[in-house]
Symmetry: D3
Subunit: 160 residues, 6 copies
């Protein structure tokens, strides 16, 4: 078992995927921002009327996904063909759950793009709310499903 992002000299490289086929690929990632109940309440009010934190996080996350290859040093550039982000307000645990689905037709998977979409959306929520709550925590960012490509499908086993 070896890490693939290194050349024979042990130095970082962008893995050669030239010979791989263009196939439809999809990845789903999820994450969570935990916050004070009062902060969640403010977000909730905004989502129903004025000051929509989640609308901004949605745009930030989608735009962030497109720039994954610029941010993550060894990521391959990809032409994303679809990005969707969903937020779930979890009042019972005082948190916002984030779920990003990313698609492409290409030579490598879009796991990193889905994870980046979630991360940027989460950071945007933090940014929009930090004036009232600096204790928020971004957590549980993980790949939950992946399909397409030679390595086959992936489905995380979990119950949250």
């Amino acid at each position: 078992m070896e890490l693939s992002h290194f050349n024979e000299a042990g130095k970082a490289r962008m893995v050669d995927v030239t010979a791989k086929n263009d196939t439809v690929r999809e990845a789903v990632a999820e994450g969570r921002v935990t916050m004070r109940p009062q902060t969640l309440e403010l977000v909730k009010k905004g989502a129903m009327g004025k000051g929509d934190v989640l609308a901004v996080a949605q745009v930030g996350g989608i735009m962030g996904a497109k720039r994954t290859w610029e941010l993550i040093p060894m990521c391959h550039p990809l032409l994303l063909t679809g990005v969707n982000i969903e937020f779930t307000l979890r009042e019972e645990i005082s948190a916002i759950d984030i779920r990003a689905t990313v698609k492409t037709t290409g030579k490598t998977g879009v796991e990193m793009e889905a994870l980046t979409a979630v991360s940027v959306a989460a950071l945007t929520i933090y940014d929009m709310c930090k004036a009232v709550d600096k204790d928020m925590i971004v957590e549980y960012i993980r790949l939950t499903a992946k399909s397409g490509g030679k390595s086959g499908n992936y489905q995380r086993e979990e119950s949250v």
Copy 2:
């Protein structure tokens, strides 16, 4: 208590900080990538010789911090004057802890820059290791300290 990132019409704006003073500001953020023990072992071997995952994550995190204002929709552009990232291998919990310290002299704080540095470094670790471990989790991204600016200092109370 109100969210500041909205104008009178309830629409998102970049908060007006024109009248704020340029002061020295520093923020520290931390986060963690949890992984299988075998994956951590591979990272550890690389850090000692060939294939240094953490060296790439270090560069990715620093470059990501500089681009925070491009990623986070309502963030103000800032001239970062210092970025440092430290990794701690936590074998007892099979994780890598990431700590980023960011400084500037400017009108707004660098909390988001520190959190972005940690996030991009964490995503880079995920990217470099995902061929061998897709179950990694990026978690516990949080602001741990902040100084400078009108809102005063912040120190997270925690014991991990």
Copy 3:
């Protein structure tokens, strides 16, 4: 009367503003997207509930303003300290009016940043609505006011 963006050889340069003072500067630009009444109606419905075109255009315009210096070849980089965008639905002329206010403390004005905010917001509206109306026109993008800096204030005389 001479164009300033050229050196002695008549070649483009980024004008030397090193000796100018850092002063508070503000610029206001406006523009308009003209569309079919049915298209305006769709935007209006979204603004009141589902599918908010203007929320996306707001974020797009603000993020575009920050990147003005990357887009406009001879623009100086500036640290924007405030960006606000307002939309007015003009049913009587079947159009959306866009108004951007940009502030900075710096050595050059923010006219281009305000104009870019309006332009990107207008293009975003076009993008979000083009599936139903390709005949939209982006028009009347202009500087309406400017203050700060050696060249003094500017106020467009107009009645639209």
Copy 4:
């Protein structure tokens, strides 16, 4: 008739075009910068010798077209395969007409890329001339033709 850039929850998404075919696509957009006759005269002199405003606007517009997907929040990234920009000095109306032709082989059209090329070229002209004329107006930015893709061809009917 519905706007396509929203998911079932009414939130913005990048439309899923995964299943669309890669076809040759072309779009033509036009726009205009209206200015004082003396300003147009200065541009004209530059175009013939020293201080070529339009050469800079040409480069700015082409580079802007390539970055459309970074600027317009819900735009898909595309590999542009050709960008051409033409300027026409319109002394009878004291204006510069801009026309951009953009091509790609891909899953979505290049309307936004052509419109962005025109917009950035127009803003660059404004930037290069604003020291002598702040009253310029960027106007009449519109799609004039489009071919390729499932939605078929588009040809604006107009006489200017």
Copy 5:
């Protein structure tokens, strides 16, 4: 013999490659940073332990290659499918040789991407060492081989 990057009016354009085939393409570029022997010694020590200049240059060069189309005005965007950079310490001439190999499947070659990878890697070395040696020279940046595409293969004849 004519330069291809101009339209009929003699103005710069992005050459129309729409009709070209997607083929596998590879380019190799090389370059050199000449420095004082003491500076080379510092780099060498770092490469063996602490403070690895070349690890940072490796990441910088790879990330720079991906952004070539953003930097070089008339370059076509391309999806790089592999980037590798190798450094050779040349103590006999007190220099570091840089060699970048870039691959893609696309309509245009990756010569510029390979040259940009070398250039950014070289500039990164300069940046990391400039505190101790401002006399370094970046030199001999050249294409050494190219394959794929209609124009056929290229192999530089040289002996250095």
Copy 6:
């Protein structure tokens, strides 16, 4: 004598310049593109009429300078206050000499920005001419002068 871009653990960092003063800083860098006499002749003809390679390289170099901090991993972001690029056709050695002058008021020098301006301008020339001459060499990129900041002035001794 130590390299400054590393922290105590020997890992790369962005050097902390928070405590440095904002002073006026200027750097001049030069470089050269060597080409066949026929290629130089084509560039020369363009510079006098149609197809101006150097006008594009000028814009590319200036825009590249502004993005130095995005490209070079450990570079600090800076607000450039002036960029000028000059080209000299050197028929006696069949080359184009490039000279970039960059200014800022800030906490760190602009050596890297001047070197990047020269490099991107040189690569742009290569790109614009590569259809007729793949043997061009970018060479002799060096800092020639620097002023401002604590480390004092620098003037390269040379005669080319």
